[in-house]
């Protein structure tokens, strides 16, 4: 950078600010902060920028939305609903859609941004999971992320219910069904939430406070904490040339990364605006006002709640009577168990992995998914479990669209929800090992050069050349997964502390299976598989003459 004289207005203003809040020092340190470059590191920003769009469009909507369940007769410009009794909430949403300038675009952008917010969080979380970026010292940030995802689902649920249209009412009815099925406290919670018998007069205004004040407030605070922690702990980087556990290789925040992040914000905003303009979302005027007596075919929640819908649809109608109390398992299990498995599993995974591997060291280099096959397989299993439930949440649309029997989608789903994850685990594990083998082959024998040579004996072979530096460094970033050392042989047959008792034995077993190096990069390779490669090396010595 050139060190010419700074113009006086800028110099004096900046020294005025610097003298009072000392920002210069802070900026000097932080503007040059280095961020590693990889496309997958931008996925979390989809959620961040969607959130900004949500705040902006949401504020616009609050200017016109009336969170009240008071009855009014509709007298707006949408003719097929003229003269119909409806709640003020629904009437004001119609007003926003048809009579407020830009209102429909804002509503649609708000809804699309909400979908991209949750979807962005999901792809970001998957990236962090599959690269092991949640490992020490980033476990707390991972937990904040899980909290953010949970809150986002809740934020979506409350927002989906606000317009008080027929579709959102169907979702609210299921929420009520889940709340009332809770043992002991269900009835109380339901009456508290709805202010009396369903649907009551209060739920829209209560959800409104939660949706525009409480949950976004917590989201904003947690997002800030998430960003600060990321900033302080520095971003993980992919293994590669010159990248170690103690450095960060990439572009400085100012100007390179800032430009990229700014551009990505524009892209996100642009994608949301495009969707909001060209794709109709949540056409509440077609659904009609909510009435507890009506329900439409194909009533579905937004995509992120689809897995709960699916589990509800798959569940057999079990109900038991326990000490005179009815336990509706057909609602309790699908509402709580899949959500519990997914969210608790996400939250606990870093700690379970640490317990299994006994790994206490810091990790700043991301792991390639293939290099931790069990983690990758567990992740894909969970994705499959979630995916089957999600898919089956739309089983009526699948049945209607593909002309298959609705009953069969349910039967197949009931099997798939258990068989799918198991199968996915096995296939993913074999794929990871296969990919590791292919890496080892590249390191051991080089890559195919495309050059065919004829040997003096008449045999044709393809020449292998060493991989380029960057690729080799990327592959050599692989480290063995730690295993708890079994020192029982040294200690006269006494297992070390923490590996005694049934739990300790289980831990030792898990550690051995989970960790270690399964396919060493520089290990021995079976000969027959690479016969041609061997001759390739011979060939190199021949050509030197």
């Amino acid at each position: 950078m050139s060190t010419g004289t700074v113009p006086k207005p800028i110099a004096s203003t900046s020294s005025f600010i610097d003298d009072r809040i000392g920002a210069g020092n802070f900026l000097k340190r932080n503007l040059r902060k280095v961020f590693p470059d990889h496309w997958s590191f931008l996925l979390g920003e989809i959620a961040l920028y969607s959130f900004i769009v949500l705040l902006l469009t949401g504020t616009f909507l609050t200017f016109f939305f009336k969170p009240s369940m008071g009855h009014v007769v509709y007298d707006g410009s949408y003719e097929p609903l003229k003269g119909i009794m409806m709640s003020e909430a629904y009437a004001s949403t119609l007003h926003i859609s048809f009579d407020v300038r830009g209102g429909l675009l804002m509503r649609q952008m708000h809804h699309w941004a909400a979908l991209l917010f949750v979807a962005g969080m999901m792809v970001h979380a998957l990236r962090v999971f599959f690269t092991g970026a949640y490992r020490k010292p980033r476990e707390l940030n991972w937990l904040i992320g899980v909290g953010l995802l949970t809150l986002a689902l809740l934020e979506g649920l409350t927002g989906y219910s606000l317009p008080d249209d027929l579709l959102s009412g169907a979702g609210l009815r299921i929420t009520e069904g889940v709340a009332i099925s809770l043992p002991l406290v269900g009835t109380w919670i339901t009456f508290f939430l709805f202010g009396g018998e369903y649907p009551g007069e209060d739920v829209v205004s209560r959800f409104y406070s939660l949706h525009i004040l409480l949950i976004p407030g917590i989201l904003l605070a947690l997002i800030t904490a998430h960003m600060i922690l990321m900033w302080v702990q520095k971003h993980t980087q992919m293994p590669g040339k010159g990248r170690t556990n103690t450095n960060v290789v990439g572009a400085p925040f100012y100007p390179a990364f800032m430009a990229k992040a700014g551009a990505y914000f524009m892209f996100t905003f642009g994608a949301i605006a495009l969707l909001g303009t060209f794709a109709q979302i949540n056409p509440i005027w077609l659904f009609g006002p909510y009435s507890p007596a009506d329900i439409s075919a194909g009533s579905q929640p937004d995509f992120y709640m689809g897995f709960l819908e699916g589990s509800l649809r798959l569940m057999p109608s079990w109900e038991i009577n326990f000490l005179g109390f009815t336990l509706p398992l057909s609602v309790l299990i699908p509402a709580l168990v899949p959500m519990g498995i997914v969210m608790t599993g996400l939250a606990l995974y870093p700690f379970i992995e640490r317990w299994v591997t006994g790994d206490r060291s810091e990790h700043h280099i991301a792991e390639r998914p293939r290099n931790n096959p069990h983690r990758t397989s567990i992740g894909i299993s969970a994705v499959t479990f979630y995916g089957v439930l999600w898919l089956l949440g739309a089983n009526d649309e699948i049945a209607a669209f593909f002309h298959v029997s609705l009953n069969w989608t349910t039967y197949v789903g009931r099997v798939l929800v258990f068989a799918g994850p198991a199968l996915a685990y096995f296939i993913t594990y074999r794929m990871c090992l296969g990919l590791q083998r292919s890496d080892a082959a590249v390191i051991g024998h080089g890559v195919e050069s495309g050059v065919i040579k004829r040997l003096p004996s008449g045999e044709y072979i393809e020449v292998h050349v060493p991989p380029n530096e960057a690729i080799e460094a990327h592959m050599r970033g692989k480290t063995a997964i730690p295993v708890i050392a079994d020192t029982s042989a040294d200690g006269g047959g006494i297992p070390p502390k923490g590996m005694r008792g049934p739990l300790g034995k289980l831990r030792a077993k898990l550690s051995k299976a989970y960790g270690g190096e399964k396919i060493p990069l520089d290990g021995e390779h079976p000969h027959e598989e690479h016969a041609a490669v061997g001759s390739g090396e011979d060939d190199k010595s021949l050509t030197r003459h």
């Binding site: 496309w39 997958s40 590191f41 931008l42 996925l43 989809i46 003719e79 097929p80 609903l81 003229k82 003269g83 119909i84 859609s97 429909l104 809804h111 699309w112 979908l115 991209l116 979807a119 962005g120 792809v123 027929l166 579709l167 572009a251 990229k260 551009a263 990505y264 892209f267 996100t268 994608a271 969707l275 794709a279 109709q280 979302i281 949540n282 077609l286 009609g288 009435s291 007596a293 009506d294 439409s296 075919a297 194909g298 579905q300 929640p301 937004d302 995509f303 689809g306 739309a394 089983n395 009526d396 649309e397 049945a399 209607a400 593909f402 002309h403 298959v404 029997s405 609705l406 009953n407």
Partner: protein, 269 residues
């Protein structure tokens, strides 16, 4: 096993795998999907008195399943008392004559011998057997004379649990379904309500008056002709297609943008 492994890098191997996968998916689909429809042979019709002519048509195209005197067989129900409205609905929408017995008779192009005249003759014959609901007049089903808003309320209360909120249709049990109402004519909608074809219940005049039926027709026809103010309608089936678009269009677009942005490297000087 070894022979397959040896050929896995063959240039055609990926196509072979792709073909195999496509074949498996296609084969599975044909196993699960109910059989499709097939065109019926043509039968020409002559001129005579409607009932007699209708009986002739009936014997040629319908009697094999419904019996020579419409008394019903194991393949098809008795048509005594179903009325002219049922005949008009089933034949004009192409559902009858049935090409293939399945979970439900699908809407399809009408048979070559079907026209207004032949439908009238066939209806007259069935009507002569035991009465039943008759074909409504044009005025009874005129959408312009109905009240959309009232019709919408009735539609939501009585129809959408199967036909979806704008009549896009939906699935029922065991391969049956509520068909989309996009192509149904006002007359067919009215006839369906009074005759209750297939899985549909009957909404007779004491449940829903003829005026109310006309209001519902006004709503169905009005809403399906109304443009989507928010852009592409995405099939008007609600959040399922919206979720697909969010992932396939939204997330894919943003992932491509991320790849493009990070591919831009500072040029070495």
């Amino acid at each position: 096993m070894n022979r397959i492994t040896a050929r896995r890098r063959h240039p055609l191997a990926r196509y072979a795998v792709l073909l195999l996968a496509l074949g498996l998916v296609g084969g599975f689909y044909t196993l699960v999907a109910p059989p499709g429809e097939r065109a019926d042979a043509a039968i020409a019709s002559g001129r005579a008195d409607d009932v007699a002519q209708g009986k002739k048509l009936f014997e040629q195209s319908c009697a094999s399943c419904h019996g020579l005197n419409a008394e019903g067989t194991a393949q098809g129900p008795s048509l005594v008392g179903v009325g002219a409205a049922a005949v008009d609905f089933q034949v004009s929408s192409g559902r009858m004559p049935l090409a293939n017995p399945g979970a439900q008779a699908p809407r399809k192009p009408t048979a070559p011998w079907v026209n207004d005249e032949t439908i009238k003759q066939l209806s007259a014959y069935i009507q002569s057997l035991g009465g039943g609901p008759t074909v409504p007049s044009q005025e009874t089903v005129d959408p312009a004379k109905g009240d959309k808003a009232k019709g919408g309320e009735l539609f939501r209360a009585n129809c959408i649990q199967c036909h979806n909120f704008v009549g896009s249709g939906g699935a029922l049990t065991q391969g049956k379904y509520a068909p989309p109402l996009h192509e149904s004519t006002p007359t067919q909608i009215y006839e369906a309500m009074i005759t209750g074809p297939q899985a549909m219940p009957v909404f007779n005049d004491s449940i829903i008056t003829p005026e109310q039926k006309r209001d519902m027709i006004a709503y169905i026809v009005g809403v399906r002709e109304e443009p989507n103010p928010g852009g592409a309608g995405l099939g008007r089936i609600g959040p399922v297609t919206e979720g697909l678009v969010a992932w396939i269009a939204g997330i894919s677009l943003l992932v491509l943008a991320a790849i493009w942005i990070t591919a831009k490297k500072r040029q070495a000087h």
